[in-house]
């Protein structure tokens, strides 16, 4: 990637993110009174986080033998830990270590 590519990438990500964060200050009434926007706001993040988890797990490329089993085990570890302790950092670090342990054969598997 060229310097210009990095700059444009950063500016796109920043502009979209800033736009989302700024919108309620500009258009309070629209969000506060628009029912469909509010329903979208309540329901989309739930669906989106499920989708993003699957995307990060790379499920759409699992046709060949893959690391899918390691992903599934580690995701379950993260989910159970998060439900139990609700410490995001603990869940993320433990899950990542479990995944790395499987992938790097630290258990001799």
């Amino acid at each position: 990637m060229s310097e210009l590519d990095y700059l444009i990438s950063a500016l796109i990500m920043a502009a979209v993110t800033f736009g989302l964060r700024a919108f309620p200050f500009v258009a309070r009434g629209f969000i506060a009174h628009h029912k469909r926007i509010q329903i979208l706001g309540r329901r989309l993040p739930v669906a989106m986080m499920v989708l993003l988890t699957l995307y990060a797990m790379n499920v759409h490329n699992w046709s060949q033998p893959s690391d899918g089993y390691a992903q599934i085990i580690a995701v379950m570890v993260v989910a159970v830990l998060q439900l139990w302790r609700r410490q995001a950092l603990l869940s993320i670090l433990t899950g990542t270590l479990v995944y790395m342990a499987i992938m790097n054969s630290w258990f001799g598997l």
Binding site: F18, P24, L44, P45, V59, L83, S91, M100
Partner: protein, 224 residues
């Protein structure tokens, strides 16, 4: 006076989270062989955790501008609603106002909206600045640590999956919206089966269309 001290102590829990999570971003960036100094620049210019994690893979794969914009929109869509409960803390300054808005991350939002401990815009602005400072510092720490990791070490990028899993669990816990969970799974299955090259784009368009177009009992009263 010395309100930055209270901002500092308020943001301590965020520091505990942002230093290691920022460090993971720094490590992933260096591991992906992207130009090193763009990691802290991303943390300065963009400042959006999950999106920055996601962008590492996308940039390394040379993905297009539209995909990047769509990913930004979807990953951060929830931020569209944060400002509604922070209006009373918005500073007046020409620089302060946009910087405050720029800095409304998940953690900053929950700190400022929930606690009631922050009541003036000056402290709020300091909270924002401290939090971004931790994130940038974490990024730099990660870049240094990445040099010391053994070569051939696999699987650190699972941190992104873990982060989204945590966010999903917290969303489900808060909203208990099993219909939306099912919708996410179905959209992923449909997109994965038919259009796996445009997986995220196709699946997310499906989500938005279904959620907007689906008949809502309360909406029907409205439309009358």
């Amino acid at each position: 006076m010395a309100s930055w001290r209270s901002a500092l102590s308020l943001t301590f829990p965020v520091m505990m989270g942002y230093l290691p999570l920022g460090a993971v971003f720094g490590v992933l960036w260096v591991d992906a062989d992207l130009t090193w100094y763009w990691a802290p620049l991303m943390s300065i210019i963009v400042y959006a955790g999950a999106l920055q994690y996601l962008a590492v893979g996308m940039l390394a794969a040379g993905i297009g501008w539209i995909d990047l914009a769509v990913a930004s929109l979807l990953v951060n869509f929830r931020h569209l609603f944060y400002g509604l409960s922070l209006y009373h803390l918005l500073p007046n300054g020409v620089l302060g106002k946009p910087y405050f808005i720029f800095g409304i991350t998940d953690e900053t939002y929950s700190l400022l909206s929930a606690s009631g401990q922050v009541t003036d815009s000056k402290t709020a602005l300091q909270v924002v600045a401290f939090n971004q400072g931790y994130w940038i510092l974490g990024t730099l720490i990660g870049m240094v640590l990445a040099r010391g990791l053994p070569p051939g070490l696999q699987g650190l990028d699972f941190a992104l999956t873990a982060l989204f899993t945590v966010l999903a669990v917290e969303q489900i816990r808060a909203k208990k919206d099993w219909g939306a969970v099912l919708l996410g799974l179905v959209a992923a299955a449909v997109a994965g089966f038919w259009v796996s090259d445009y997986f995220l784009l196709a699946a997310s368009i499906m989500l938005v269309l279904v959620l907007v177009a689906w008949p809502q009992p309360r909406l029907q009263e409205d439309a009358a």
